[in-house]
Symmetry: C2
Subunit: 311 residues, 2 copies
């Protein structure tokens, strides 16, 4: 019997779980806030992992899903948006030294893709694109049964491809990226702007909205909210058509909170893909679906990464 630990590092929450071999049901699972008075996120992460560490000490490896650009080969977090101070942090080596077991680190969206491929909607596919649409847009790509990483592990950042030259400002500082027009943040912001221009809606004007509120209104038939999801879906479709031309996958999996709007988001994506592919053969074997692991994709991806380590 070997045990693996999986850790999902977020700006708001740190989650960790302990998995017995061959099981996807954790024997222990725990979570804490990432930021809290009097202890650093790194101290809180070490305490969290310690709380799960089995006493008989048979952990084979720890897999860690981390936000932002990471170097998975060296276990370095280049920057972690929303975790102040995490710049060029050698988290992998630090945790290896602390716990005395191998630690494998990956970008959270990459590992969500790995999780869906290994345990979720992407099982059996050799070429896969995973897109998570929530506050931002994260992506992961499987090419020939392997995670696409690139020379420094920075590949598959498809949220930062340009879909609208000189378009809205993106969180990264550039303009017109997919994330800047189709993320949950962008959806809510677009609705706020439309409301300010007097477009009728059941949603309240003159206040901050969330993508969840927009999605709820859309489900209840609000036309502006439906249009907002359709607009985001169309931009996603534009970008995903480009990604079909780039990767020719057999499955696209859409995850993240916004994907729970179902057809209100997925149908515009599908329609746009059909319209934009340069050859119908790109759609021959293509499945377009939503995430099956949902909120567990990151944690199970970290588990898949930990289990990928050869004994």
């Amino acid at each position: 019997m070997t045990t693996h630990l999986a850790v999902d590092v977020g700006g708001t929450q740190l989650r960790a779980a302990c998995y017995p071999s061959d099981s996807l049901t954790p024997s222990k699972i725990n979570k804490v806030s990432t930021q809290f008075a009097n202890s650093s996120p790194l101290e809180r992460l070490v305490a969290l992992i310690s709380s799960l560490f089995p006493e008989d000490d048979r952990v084979s490896a720890i897999g860690v899903a981390a936000p932002g650009p990471v170097n998975p080969y060296q276990g370095i977090i280049y920057t972690a948006p929303n975790i102040p101070g995490w710049e060029n942090l050698p988290l992998g080596p630090y945790l290896e030294e602390t716990f005395g077991v191998p630690v494998l680190l990956g970008n959270d969206a990459n590992l969500a893709a790995l999780g869906e491929w290994r345990f979720g909607a992407g099982q059996g596919h050799h070429h896969l694109i995973y897109v998570t649409v929530s506050t931002g847009i994260g992506t992961g790509v499987i090419v020939e049964d392997r995670l696409l990483l690139g020379v420094n592990g920075l590949a598959a950042e498809l949220g930062h491809v340009t879909v609208m030259l000189d378009g809205p400002l993106c969180g990264c500082g550039q303009r017109g990226h997919l994330e800047a027009v189709a993320s949950g943040t962008a959806i809510a912001h677009w609705v706020e702007q439309e409301l300010a221009e007097g477009i009728p809606s059941t949603l309240p004007g003159h206040q901050k909205l969330t993508a969840r509120e927009v999605a709820q209104a859309a489900k209840q038939g609000d036309k502006l909210a439906i249009a907002a999801l359709a607009r985001a879906g169309t931009f996603l479709g534009h970008a995903l058509a480009d990604f079909l031309h780039a990767f020719n996958p057999s499955i696209i999996i859409v995850g993240g909170g916004v994907s729970r709007s179902g057809d209100l988001l997925m149908k515009p994506i599908h329609d746009c893909l059909k319209e934009r592919v340069i050859s119908p053969h790109y759609l021959d074997d293509l499945i377009l679906t939503t995430s099956s692991l949902r909120d567990e994709a990151g944690l199970l991806g970290a588990l898949a990464l930990a289990r990928s380590l050869k004994a």
Copy 2:
């Protein structure tokens, strides 16, 4: 001693060469026009290969670089732009039956990438992007020492990513693709339009121009021609920044006739990449360079493919 045949199928010309083992110098090389009265392109191709086939019959494999979307797993040419009648043509199986040796088929830009990686500017790199800028824009990508093919072999069609929503019409029928704004054809067309609007230049108005004429004028200091190459370079830079985010390669190789304009094209690409990457780490280990195999990239790529067949 084993011999490999390499074939480069173009809309204008068919080229083939016979390579002794371990040599990049062909023992025989020949070319014919693709289209000519009284014989079909396929008949002409078979005759060309026959003319090179060694009499002692020790050919290990034939590698074929073909234009347009192909299915390399099945040896099928889906469509070959500029070769009428080549639709869903099982060229690989047909040549295998005709010559009784294994035939491996690939998209010409993919094989040019393979050629540069195996024998040219990309040697030693594990993650590579090749872009050829000529009449159209073709691309090939190496991921972890393997050609990126996707589930049907249609991956790496980066000339058909959208860089300008609702932009100019592309050869594929869609709008705003990279090829529609940065290919040799697009460069010449943009100059024609500017001339028609009265922009001063040494280039003649009211007539069809070629990218080669624009490049020559640019080398002689013509401001409009220089601006045309800079504009194409900037669009290429935009798209290549997206491709850095997608693939995180250690080398980008630019080939094709337009790349011979050197810095007039390459500097705008480089400047745009520097401006557009979301993290400087994408440039840490990046080489941006022009093709070293030039016109031989396709043929040597077909050779690399033929030699990749395990005995």
